[in-house]
């Protein structure tokens, strides 16, 4: 009898223990009580991501400052010939404008979301995802050009400092991965919007949270553009 009660109690105790942990953590909203929890969590995730990208950019700074071979001129490396005339850095400039445009449509999507305009929100989010996919496509083009035509590798670079290859593939690769994940997330949330999921729950915060992530990807690109491509 005794044995039976303890064996019955044990799993319940464990469940209660987990519940108490969950209760304690979810009660930890004194600071962010006035903010939607998902938004606070997304901000904290983005903060950690900020540190990751900052570590990459700091590593890039360290490698570039300590390289004894000449650093390639990015304006020439990322030039495109349009009409038979090479325009410096034009590929990166176009990518920048594409990403900024995607941020613009995303901001409008969040706005229409809070107005409860299901169709416009979904349409703007799909437009954002399309811009994002365009960006990744242009990045694939850029990588192919660098790998196949210029012969740049993560460990070698015929144009000069081998550290250029390492930092280029690491930084733009990690950013491109973020954009790709963002496009997938946008497609999922936009589909939910279109189906009226957030009309039923009456809460369009998911659109704003997805937007936070997307704007962050754009934000990181601002820093990469300045430090890696323009410097």
């Amino acid at each position: 009898m005794d044995h039976v009660t303890t064996s019955q109690l044990e799993p319940r105790d464990a469940a209660q223990g987990i519940q108490s942990i969950a209760a304690d953590w979810s009660a930890d909203q004194e600071v962010f009580r006035h903010t939607h929890w998902g938004k606070a969590m997304m901000w904290i995730f983005l903060l950690s991501d900020t540190f990751i990208f900052s570590c990459f950019l700091t590593a890039y700074m360290t490698m570039r400052a300590s390289a004894s071979l000449p650093w390639p001129n990015t304006a020439e490396v990322f030039a495109l010939s349009i009409g038979g005339q090479p325009i410096p850095l034009i590929l990166i400039a176009i990518m920048t404008f594409v990403l900024i445009s995607s941020s613009g449509t995303m901001a409008l999507a969040v706005n229409y979301g809070y107005r409860g305009d299901r169709r416009k929100t979904a349409a703007l989010m799909f437009a954002t995802a399309l811009f994002g996919a365009t960006f990744v496509g242009m990045q694939a083009f850029e990588w192919t050009k660098l790998i196949v035509e210029e012969g740049v590798r993560p460990w070698a670079n015929p144009m000069g400092a081998p550290q250029f290859g390492a930092s280029f593939f690491m930084i733009t690769g990690f950013h491109g991965l973020h954009v790709t994940c963002g496009v997938i997330m946008l497609l999922i949330v936009a589909t939910l919007v279109l189906r009226g999921h957030y009309d039923r729950t009456g809460d369009y915060s998911a659109v704003e949270i997805a937007g936070l992530y997307w704007h962050f990807v754009d934000l990181v690109w601002v820093f990469i553009f300045a430090f890696f491509y323009l410097w």
Binding site: H34, L47, F51, S66
Partner: protein
């Protein structure tokens, strides 16, 4: 207690809907325009071969302006509560310490290479 949680819940959801992030579309379009202009300007810095300290200053100024616009308006940081703003924006400042340390480190590495490896490596 129950009453407290109820009002807490209300306070938590209320800003997200009523006051929360209902801004005129024009504001976003204006920021969008500014971002385009700033990007063009930073591209022109490269296009016109501005060099040296002027180049670096301009690049950083345009970068910070763009970052500020994105974070404050697009990410709605301007309308968030101060506790959240400080929790997110203050920690990255310690990265400046890392940058400073690594600058010393890279200087040391560079001169080690220059002196002992004859500029190679």
């Amino acid at each position: 207690m129950d009453h407290d949680t109820a009002t807490g819940q209300e306070a938590q959801t209320a800003p997200a809907h009523a006051e929360g992030q209902q801004h005129p579309l024009g504001l976003y379009l204006k920021v969008w325009g500014y971002l385009f202009v700033l990007s063009t300007l930073s591209y022109l810095v490269d296009y016109f071969h501005v060099q040296g300290i002027v180049r670096w200053t301009l690049i950083i100024v345009f970068m910070l302006l763009k970052a500020g616009l994105i974070v404050s308006i697009f990410m709605h940081m301007a309308w968030e509560r101060l506790s959240l703003i400080y929790a997110i924006l203050v920690p990255p400042l310690v990265l400046l310490v890392l940058v400073r340390i690594m600058l010393f480190e890279s200087d040391y590495t560079f001169w080690t290479r220059a002196i002992f490896f004859g500029g190679g490596g």
